[in-house]
């Protein structure tokens, strides 16, 4: 599919080297970051752009941020003009109404010059620990407008001709609850951009601007050509999906995907008006999440660049959840409507793939994501932390596929620190963190099992810490089944107040079952809350959806799931129609055949 203008070996070497630069940028972020969000949870982006902001190469990170950082480059070009952009300048932008997705995702953008000519850009984001919003950490359920959601910078020079502007740096960090941590995160972004600049300078010196420019153009052209060819081989059609998020009432997202020849049109007409709570997504975010869905379905093996965007169009009516208008709140956009859009786009693309002999093998049951929470407060060392991300997204169960089960606690994004590390850093004590029995979506191939956890306070000097509950709220979150496969159990956050947890621990009876805790339970919507001594916070993340009819699942696989406590013996019988003899879990195949036949007769009545 190469155009023939560039020697294919040179093309391969240079394109992979550009990709490798973005990976090295990511490593720099991880090694120099100021918070666990960057260093362990990998909530960052690192990518390279052409002089006009087109995506040249992107690291192994979020698709939506790759796109939004491209928007950020264009906003910097518009604001400053080429004549005000100098070698070794570095810009900062975090305005969600211009290019970012929510305020805490701070973009740092660096122009790359060769012999004083602008030849490209590098860009990073990290989720900084605080932006001075009404809620510590930034996700602000009580915000009613963007002005309550922290500092919002439309583009500023943080570094001017190689010199850090300390006045600007101090002004930004001064607006936050954790100036040291935010400062470290901003500097790790500068470091990663400096890595990109040094590596690109080496490449320009070695290969010259003409070849480098040609390779980046060819990379984009190649990706676009292959993607269009793939689309051309898939039958045309229209596919629909909806998702309801509960935020002061139901908020409905709707998507129709039209595939016409080599084009994909994502049409969000029918989506509800923007919400009062900050679950609203800006247009560039919607565009980015659609890009990500294409990337992870039919373009996962292609160079990640602007070529993926060329065949796609996004229709998102203004003033809706997917194209919010100023000055509505936006702080929880990524983890609510953002992941909602990602689910819708993935679902319709999977339905599209099902119509192709080649691509139906790639289908994965999609997930509408999960609930999560963050804490803030004073830890056991009397230090304040504005942002303790429980990072449960790393433990979602993945969707089943046409020929295999979903990955258990495979994770949807990010990574999750281990329990011991969390307890060492923060005033938390885990009662358990484990696979949740019966959470997985049943199917001929079942979804990946979800993780459930419970934690309480431990050695907290103030006897409490704050919390904020966010994510995709409502019973439609978690994995959705495909083609007869069942959905995964909904993701939940439950606060159990005034429990017997300390009494049980003192008696050396750590509670593995919540029923022993007593206390008062309440399910948390989008809200701020306090975790006090003797309270317990229970969380269960998303489980993978199943694929195909559970009554067609190999009974031996069900037996193994029961032994591994992924499925209970009761559910094996009631959902899968598998009969196991008590205790030893020996499979009774004859009884299983009889039970399954009876279940079918019961379900479909006279149809057969």
């Amino acid at each position: 599919m190469l155009s023939g203008h560039i020697d294919p070996i040179t093309f391969e070497v240079l394109s992979h080297r550009l990709h490798q630069i973005t990976r090295e940028m990511g490593i720099a972020l991880e090694r120099t970051g100021g918070t666990v969000t960057t260093t362990q949870q990998h909530d960052y982006n690192a990518s390279l752009y052409r002089p006009d902001g087109e995506i040249m190469a992107a690291g192994e990170t979020y698709g939506h941020h790759v796109v939004c950082a491209g928007f950020a480059v264009r906003r910097i070009l518009e604001r400053f003009g080429a004549e005000e952009i100098y070698p070794d300048d570095i810009f900062l932008l975090n305005d969600p109404y211009l290019a970012a997705i929510h305020n805490p995702d701070v973009y740092i953008i660096s122009p790359i010059h060769h012999q004083n000519a602008l030849v490209g850009w590098s860009a990073t984001f990290v989720h900084v620990s605080d932006v001075g919003a009404i809620t510590p950490g930034g996700d602000s359920p009580d915000a009613t407008e963007i002005f309550q959601e922290g500092f919002r910078i439309p583009g500023i020079k943080l570094v001017e001709r190689g010199k850090l502007r300390k006045d600007v740096f101090d002004t930004i960090t001064h607006m936050t609850r954790q100036p040291e941590a935010v400062g470290l995160d901003l500097k790790c972004e500068i470091a990663a951009n400096n890595v990109a600049k040094a590596r690109l300078h080496d490449m320009y010196r070695q290969y010259g601007p003409e070849l480098m420019n040609g390779v980046s153009i060819e990379m984009i052209r190649y990706t676009e050509a292959v993607l269009r060819k793939r689309l051309g081989e898939i039958p045309d059609g229209i596919w629909h999906e909806t998702l309801t998020i509960e935020a002061d009432g139901p908020c409905r997202l709707a998507l129709a995907l039209r595939k016409e020849g080599e084009r994909l049109i994502f049409d969000f007409t029918g989506t509800d008006a923007q919400a009062r709570k900050g679950i609203n997504l800006p247009f560039h975010g919607t565009f980015g999440f659609c890009f990500g869905a294409i990337l992870y379905s039919i373009a996962y093996d292609l160079p990640k660049n602007q070529g993926v965007l060329k065949p796609m169009e996004v229709i998102a009516p203004k003033g809706t959840l997917v194209n919010v208008q100023y000055p509505a709140p936006i702080s929880m956009s990524t983890t609510s409507s953002g992941f909602g859009v990602g689910f819708l786009a993935s679902s319709v693309l999977m339905q599209m793939c099902a119509t192709s002999e080649r691509w139906r093998r790639e289908i994965v049951a999609p997930s509408a994501s999960h609930r999560n929470c963050r804490h803030s407060g004073v830890n056991q060392y009397h230090r304040y932390s504005a942002f303790i991300n429980m990072a449960h997204g790393a433990m979602d169960g993945n969707g089943a596929r046409i020929d295999r089960d979903g990955v258990d606690s495979g994770g949807s994004y990010m990574s999750c620190p281990n329990v011991e590390w969390m307890e060492l850093q923060y005033p938390l004590l885990y009662l358990f963190r484990r696979h949740a029995t019966d959470s997985t979506g049943a199917g001929k191939f079942r979804g990946g099992v979800a993780v459930e956890s419970a934690h309480t306070l431990h050695d907290a000097p103030e006897g409490k810490i704050r919390g904020v509950a966010y994510g995709v709220a409502g019973p439609e979150n978690s994995g959705h089944g495909m083609f007869g496969g069942y959905p995964g159990a909904p993701s939940v956050i439950t606060l159990m107040e005034k429990t017997r947890v300390n009494e049980l621990i003192a008696a050396n009876q750590p509670p593995g079952e919540l029923t022993r805790l007593g206390g008062q339970e309440r399910s948390l919507p989008y809200c701020n809350f306090e975790l006090k001594e003797s309270d317990v916070l229970y969380m269960r993340v998303a489980a993978g959806g199943g694929y195909g009819d559970p009554l067609e699942r190999d009974p031996e696989l069900v037996r193994r799931d029961v032994i591994n406590r992924i499925v209970s013996a009761d559910a094996a019988r009631q959902v899968y129609g598998v009969v196991l003899e008590d205790r030893q879990f020996e499979l009774d195949l004859a009884a299983t055949r009889q039970l399954r036949a009876a279940m079918r007769r019961h379900e479909i009545g006279d149809a057969s």
Binding site: A354, T355, D438, G441, G484, A607
Partner: protein
């Protein structure tokens, strides 16, 4: 042009007309331009039919399954919101 549509369903061309057919028994559910879901046998169950942890959906959702009306093969399964008629 015939091609797969989803698990157990295919789009089949026959004498210039296009149909959505069950791949198990060959039954023509409907023309390709129509909503195939409306042509299925539909049954609803309590949410816990899909597993015990679905109990939090009780009263608000039902578990809806769609089958081929002829051979009874399962075509789709999803939670649907209970519509209040009042």
């Amino acid at each position: 042009m015939s091609h797969p549509f989803r698990e157990n369903l295919a789009v089949v061309d026959d004498a210039g007309e296009t149909w959505i057919c069950c791949t198990g028994c060959g039954h023509r559910l409907c023309a390709a331009s129509q909503d195939w879901r409306a042509c299925c046998r539909k049954r609803t169950f309590p949410p816990t039919n899909a597993g015990p942890l679905m109990n939090i959906l009780d009263g608000r959702y039902l578990f809806e399954k769609l089958y081929c009306p002829v051979c009874g093969v399962l075509l789709n399964a999803q939670m649907v919101e209970v519509k209040n008629e009042s």
